[in-house]
Amino acid sequence: MWQTYLQPTTVEETLALLAEHGDQARIVSGGTDVLVELSRGVRPTETLIDISRLGELRYIREEGGVVRLGGLATHNDVVASAIGRERALPLAQACWEVGAPQLRTRGTVAGNLVTASPANDTITPLLALGAEVVLASAGGERTLPLGEFLLGVRRTAIRPDELVREIRFPALGDGRRGIFRKLGLRRAQAISVVDAAIVLGFDGERVSGARIALGAVAPTIIRAEGAEAFLIGRSLDAETCRRAGALAADAARPIDDIRGSAGYRLKALAALIERGLARLGDGAEAEGLPPSPVLLETAPADGGAARPAGSEPFAGVIRTTVNGEPQAWAAAAGKTLLDALREDAALTGTKEGCAEGECGACTVWLDGQAVMSCLVPAPQAHGASLTTIEGLAATATEDGPRDGGLHPLQRTFIEAGAVQCGYCIPGMLMAGAKLLAERPAPDEEEIRIALSGNLCRCTGYRKILDAVQAAAADLAPAGERAGVGR
């Protein structure tokens, strides 16, 4: 899919490479959009510039009432951070609605902006929050309001030599509150049919300022200015919410596509806005975002960026650790991690079911994160530590595998009858075992969320959920186990 893979380690080096390669190269980090596009021949490129090693860009900070997101801040980073949840709730909600855990741990908010699909969930709240985009190039920096950054369907104002260094917006709080709502055709791994973000300023009960952004109803994310103006000075009674919903729909110019007709989008949009406003009126805007969201990552926040001391920069040969064994892949620089594992490491337990990050059959652990290996450029394994299904058992305890060489979850999958055709099972286990590493006693909703990126066509999931619960009970310390029904 690409010929040359460059992996700079500083922003300065990156900007120099961008200046050199310009429109002959594309930037990649989480890969969740870029690898899908490349596999479909969208915006093809000879050269990938991997910025995932620029640890300095992975941050979420609040300074002087401004929230700053580094270019490498992931969806999970936003969802997990207090700043994201308390000072940028609509963005955190949108991040939580993206794809599935394996995508949220990889995908970056900046990457969504650059993809600039009208259905990219995070752009909508950023527009409502009044975000600006800081673009860096070798020639210096410039800052654009988000509305000027977005030009059309998958078109932005970014120049080929530029990098999104930071996204920033005024923090919520002090009378400003917001909410994000999305309608998809299923509850995970769903592209928005419509989505909306509302940010309101309040003077007591009355609305003193309003920004409403609408997604998937026009070539770019748009504002619902009529509804915004209507709300000023009003309190959020039922009729006001309803009329604002109708006014917001007036601003939309949706199209018919495979996910829905224009007419349906308008109706659903009105309902989303009406309910979002009602929720804000009730002060219930944060409901639904779990206090401790499932992340499927157990590495520290900078774990993906901090390399083991002494590891050499990537220079063509991928030197990595797979299931505790060092490996060197000489011919995998142009491959996905999935293909490298299957072809160069001859580890075929990791499966391909879709090659677009939808089914989760290729889930492995990359430096502590559960990732879909079909959307990871293999060179990102350089200097990293990988665990595949073949190495899962050895992670079960510090002393190595127990249960006759199985991870407890592998054993409960067998006992619970959770395995039918088995093709989804390696990915399912890697996601499930990561959940148990992250939280030893998950409830059923958390298990469902953790496995929402892993499709199974045989079992209906019931026995898989049972198996995770049984393993959690087994893994619980003996003192806590008494209270767990088995």
């Binding site: 309910r275 299904i389 009858g417 088995g422």
Partner: protein
């Protein structure tokens, strides 16, 4: 047959260990260095004449070994029932997934690059993509050598429908449509093939019937069947989608012609474009009933879009026509089933095989009739459900073991236990509990939205044949070998039955263990090689436990008797089990013996409908099945739960979008399957064991039955919640909202 220690036990699967450790090899895991890689060149258009294929640029690419075309195929037609599908098209392409060439190269990447370089010149032909229009006199012909696009017309006539409607107090009409469903087994098609030292062609892949794959491959190459060996690696799901050949024929062709090991691995997109789907079926029907609750007449017109090739359309439309009256005894019946060729993706086998589409119409009509008559829909069913000795529309009594009524009564009991009850002529669920909305989907989990939420309860019944129908040859053969001096030391069961994930090998092992009184773990099962295992028929029609199970059971009994009555250190018994005979349907009246066994199901569901967005959430499903005898209860539950996931997807979200013969949703990101979060929080499988008179230990099949009632049960629940009937599957939020808008407008 006596109860014993092994049958009924929830023993773990022997294949599970390899599957949880990643050691199990599926077809794509068999690719080895040195193999040649195949890449198909797809037509990518619904209907065109092939003018020329220029492969020079492709062949000039380094690593490209050959580009195979129709001229390379010895007998260029295959098919399960009627060989009308070319391996590689030579003159005309009839759907976008038709293959015109296969590139063979040293690497998968070279093959893919070269495939894009094959220049194919076409002259577009008018495409017919609407089954109604395909029947017009001036419609373009999908197969020019046929007189029309009609693939099969199956009439069923019983009694006098005019008199039946005249006797009815209420006559209702309905029209129902369903769309294609994609199998979406998690493992896309793949396989390898080579020619061994004995000049035999070995094809190792995943399918549903070793010996039928072998027959078709041998026919394409013009080889005697003994020269072809088909082996199955682990099969990553099937659901009917691996019944038709896919990669097998190109693999066989390339390996045989080039005498080198070859591999072919399809992408998800190739899989979705390349293999058949569940039939879209349109049912127009009239049902009549008297005030006393007797259904007097049913008239139905059943039209199935068979797509470009015959596949199993003829059988599917017969099943759909047979079940146009559901599981009800109706004295006067006039059904016309038709399957037609179009330039759409071929339609063929998919779990349920015509039964879900037909009974969507039948079950909704029965509930509507009850409402029109002011009767409890449960009571109307009670008065008309099949019972022992009921006559089918084909005029023959049902095979013994009719359990429609006990299954339905149990379903009502389970529903009542949950507090669902009859009130105001309809069924009512529990009142929503305070705060219950908090577990709902994104758009409906706010308290302010609670007023948009409507709860409803619905139920439906279902019937599905087990095994082959309408006189299709039905048999299963198994061999049991016992060896040992004095006591049995080695037990081998040979039975060519595919384990597509449903656990058939475990069920057969348990049956053998019980019949032989040996530890099931000590039995060697030989099931995946067409040479080493005899033909047990396909993993389809919910038939393996019953058919292969009987063959294994009977062979085991015979082998054990031989062993006990002789001094031989090694005995062997082979049994071919044949069930009661079925017959072809009379071409004028449909009279005949359609099936030898049926499975019966009933389901009750609770849904929550968001009247603002049209989203439907299934909160709970009760699914009751008579399985005769659960050989392994855990595996039976797995079949019910898994089938329900496909049924929930079918009912609510799985929508293959097709325009002008082109599939618009060829990815798992656009063809949506239910995730963990989309499944009902509560699924209650209820397993009844009302022994089948012929099945092994009384067992009968269950694999398809949960798919039959769910669509109409959800339709009834949506009606209960909101007062609207949905008649177009799937019930997408958009369709629900449109129905609500029509309700509010008028």
């Amino acid at each position: 047959m006596t109860r014993s220690a092994v049958v009924g036990q929830p023993l773990p699967r022997h294949d599970a260990l390899g599957k949880v450790t990643g050691a199990t090899t599926y077809p794509a895991d068999l690719v080895r260095p040195g193999m040649l890689h195949l890449k198909a060149v797809f037509a990518g258009r619904p209907h065109a004449r092939l003018l020329a294929i220029d492969a020079r640029a492709a062949l000039a690419l380094p690593g490209v070994v050959a580009v195979l075309t129709a001229a390379d195929v010895p007998h260029n037609a295959y098919g399960l029932i009627e060989p009308d599908q070319p391996v590689l098209c030579g003159d005309v392409v009839r759907f976008e997934g038709d293959k015109v060439a296969v590139v063979v190269a040293e690497s998968a990447a070279s093959a893919a690059t070269a495939a894009a370089l094959v220049r194919v010149e076409y002259a577009a032909l008018p495409a017919v993509t609407d089954p109604e229009l395909a029947l017009a006199a001036d419609a373009p012909l999908v197969h020019a050598e046929r007189e029309s696009n009609l693939l099969l017309h199956v009439p069923i006539r019983k009694g006098d429908v005019a008199a039946g409607f005249a006797a009815a107090d209420v006559v209702l009409e309905g029209e129902f449509t369903t769309a294609w469903q994609e199998h979406a087994f998690l493992q896309p098609e793949a396989g390898i093939a080579w020619v061994d030292d004995g000049e035999r062609l070995i094809v190792e892949t995943a399918g549903q019937w070793l010996h039928e794959d072998r027959r078709q491959i041998a026919a394409v190459l013009g080889l005697p069947e003994e020269r072809v060996v088909v082996r199955y690696a682990a099969i990553g799901g099937a659901f009917g989608g691996r019944e038709d050949l896919s990669v097998q024929a190109p693999l066989a062709l390339a390996a045989w012609k080039l005498r080198r090991p070859v591999a072919m691995v399809w992408s998800r997109e190739e899989s979705i474009v390349g293999h058949h789907k569940r039939h879209p079926i349109r049912v127009r029907c009239r049902w009549g009933a008297t005030k006393s609750g007797q259904i007097t007449a049913v008239e139905a017109d059943v039209l199935a879009d068979g797509g470009a090739y015959a596949s199993t359309s003829a059988e599917v439309v017969k099943v759909a026509a047979l079940f146009a009256t559901g599981c009800y005894q109706v004295p006067n019946v006039a059904v016309d089933g038709r399957a037609v060729y179009t330039n759409n993706v071929p339609a063929g086998a998919f779990r349920g095989f015509g039964a879900p589409q037909a009974q969507f119409a039948a079950e909704v009509m029965v509930t509507r009739l009850a409402h029109a008559l002011g009767l409890d829909p449960a009571e109307l069913r009670r008065r008309n459900l099949y019972h022992e000795g009921s006559l089918e529309p084909t005029g023959h009594p049902l095979p013994a073991g009719v359990s429609a009524r006990p299954v339905f009564e149990r379903c009502l009991e389970e529903a009542a236990r949950r507090g669902w009850r009859v009130a105001d002529g309809g069924w009512r669920g529990d009142e929503p509990e305070a705060g219950s909305a908090a577990t709902n989907g994104t758009a409906c989990n706010l308290p302010a939205a609670a007023r948009h939420l409507r709860r409803g309860v619905g139920f439906a019944c279902g019937i599905k044949n087990l095994g082959y129908s309408f006189g299709f040859p039905e048999q299963a053969t198994a061999t049991v070998e016992l060896a040992g001096r004095g006591e049995v030391e080695r037990t081998t069961v040979r039975v060519g039955a595919a384990d597509v994930g449903q656990g058939s090998h475990l069920a057969l092992r348990q049956i053998a263990a019980d019949a032989l009184e040996v530890d099931p773990a000590l039995i060697e099962m030989v099931c995946d090689d067409s040479e080493l295992a005899p033909n047990a028929g396909s993993a389809s029609a919910s038939r393996l436990t019953y058919m292969a199970g009987r063959a294994v059971h009977d062979a085991a009994v015979e082998a054990l008797a031989k062993y006990r009555n002789s001094d031989d250190a090694r005995v062997e018994a082979t049994v071919q089990f044949r069930p009661a005979t079925t017959t072809a349907l009379d071409p004028e009246t449909g009279a005949g013996v359609p099936n030898y066994c049926y499975g019966y199901a009933s389901q009750a569901v609770e849904v929550e409908v968001d009247e603002g967005t049209g989203q439907v959430r299934v909160a709970a499903v009760i699914s009751v099945h008579d399985v005769g005898r659960a050989i392994n209860r855990q595996q039976v539950e797995g079949q019910i739960e898994g089938c329900l996931a496909q049924a929930v997807g079918y009912a609510l979200m799985e929508e293959l979008r097709v325009a002008e013969g082109r599939i618009l949703t060829p990815y798992l990101s656009t063809y949506l399957l239910p995730t963990t979060l989309d499944m009902p929080p509560e699924i209650v499988p209820v397993i009844l064991e009302l022994a089948d008179p012929h099945g092994p230990f009384g067992a009968r099949g269950v694999a398809e039955m949960p798919l039959v009632p769910l669509l109409p049960a959800i339709a009834a629940a949506i009606h209960d919640a909101c007062g609207v009937w949905l008649s177009q599957q799937p019930f997408t939020p958009e369709r629900v909202l449109a129905a609500l808008a029509r309700r509010d407008a008028g």
